[in-house]
Amino acid sequence: MNYRKHIFEYIFIGVYFAFLIYFFQYLSFSPYSAYIFSASLPAFYLLWSLLHHYFEERLNLNIFLEYLSISLFIFIILTTASNL
């Protein structure tokens, strides 16, 4: 994998995660922000992966299922945690 070729995509996702965590730390006392966070993290990750692999011309069903399953896994963990 050529990291340098996609450096901006990695920086973008890294910054997005840092931004999300930073704000979530301050807003986590609100149940609504926890729900928004639980949905936006996996949704963004899935979208990022689809675009990233599409531009890499490596997008196929297996890769889609891999990201989908991980995003779903994250969504379920965060949603159940927020609802307890």
Binding site: M1, Y10, I13, G14, F17, L20, I21, F24, Q25, Y26, L27, S28, F29, S30, P31, A34, F37, L41, Y45, W48, S49, H52, H53, R58, N62, I63, L65, E66, Y67, L68, S69, I70, L72, F73, I74, I76, I77, L78, T80, A81, S82, N83, L84
Partner: protein, 295 residues
């Protein structure tokens, strides 16, 4: 023949944990089907917790070590930092806060206005506190007093109450009970300014009241008996989540190491991105249970 079968079996086991050079695939335990299995663990855990809540309310809970004295100190520290005069603790406001907390447990709600329309101010008036201004902050599921005040300070509307110059007095209730099936600790903070400002609690009255609370403080946080009888939901969930997430992360790290050292060229998604998002998830679970909720 026996050796070959044994080798195949060993190789089959190995590829549950490390990538396969021949098929160019990840470890079997990282296959997307296994992620559905890992996810189902959380769904089952969630269902079990909800069933326990209904069948035996109060078995599950959130423990805490919140005290009225500490809440008052932390509130006044924040006011002092902002150059505002400290609030005096008022017994009537504290009794009104206790009434509100008990009402929330009795009617099983968590809101400023009760489902039957009862307003917070009705509890204040019920205790004979004739106010010119009054305000209310609520909190639940926090561990420590400082965390409660920090959360209020991070929310603009609660911060406004906490630092308002319209108030001279404050009252707190830290009450334990079963809400939504969970054993939990509710914090109610009432602010007020009496119509008759001459009636503001004196320092000696405050000390007397706080000293009288001292005996109650030990039972106002979750009592020893309650703490030992409930299953702490955040600890349980964190334990399960960190175990499964840690296991998956370890497999991904092994995947990177094994692929690089053995030259396995897989046609899969990006392992480093997966590791990054799983670490963010782990941290998020920690944050979700670190803080309670305020209203």
């Amino acid at each position: 023949m026996k050796d070959l079968a044994h080798f195949k079996e060993k190789s089959l086991m190995k590829h549950h944990f490390v990538p396969n050079k021949d098929t160019k695939k990840r470890a079997r335990l990282l296959h997307h089907k296994f992620f559905y299995l890992y996810s189902s663990v959380f769904v089952v855990l969630f269902l079990l917790i909800n069933v326990s809540k209904s069948v035996k309310p109060g078995v599950l809970g959130y423990s805490s070590e919140i005290t009225v004295r500490q809440l008052l100190d932390d509130t006044n520290k924040e006011r002092d930092r902002s150059g505002k005069k400290p609030l005096a603790i008022n017994e009537k406001l504290s009794k009104a806060a206790k009434l509100k907390a008990d009402y929330m447990f009795a009617k099983n709600f968590w809101a400023h206005t009760a489902p039957d329309g009862t307003q917070p101010w009705e509890f204040v008036l019920q205790e004979g506190y004739d106010y010119a201004y009054a305000g209310e902050n609520l909190a639940r599921n926090f561990y420590y007093s400082q965390e409660v005040v920090d959360a209020w300070m991070n929310s603009p509307s609660h911060k406004e109450n906490l630092l308002s110059e319209n108030y001279d007095e404050v009252g707190f209730a830290v009450e334990n009970g079963v809400l939504d099936g969970y054993e939990t600790t509710l914090v109610v903070q009432f602010f007020g300014r009496p119509k008759n400002t001459a009636a503001i609690t004196t320092k000696s009255d405050q000390e007397r009241y706080l000293n009288s609370l001292n005996e109650k403080v030990s039972t106002m946080g979750v009592s020893t008996k309650t703490t030992s009888s409930v299953i702490d939901v955040p600890s349980l969930f964190r334990y399960v989540a960190f175990t499964i997430l840690g296991f998956v992360l370890a497999l991904f790290i092994l995947d990177i190491y094994y692929s690089r050292t053995r030259g396995v060229d897989k046609f899969t998604g990006h392992t480093s991105a997966h590791i990054m998002v799983l670490l963010v998830t782990m941290f998020s679970v920690y944050i979700i249970f670190k803080n309670g909720h305020i209203l």
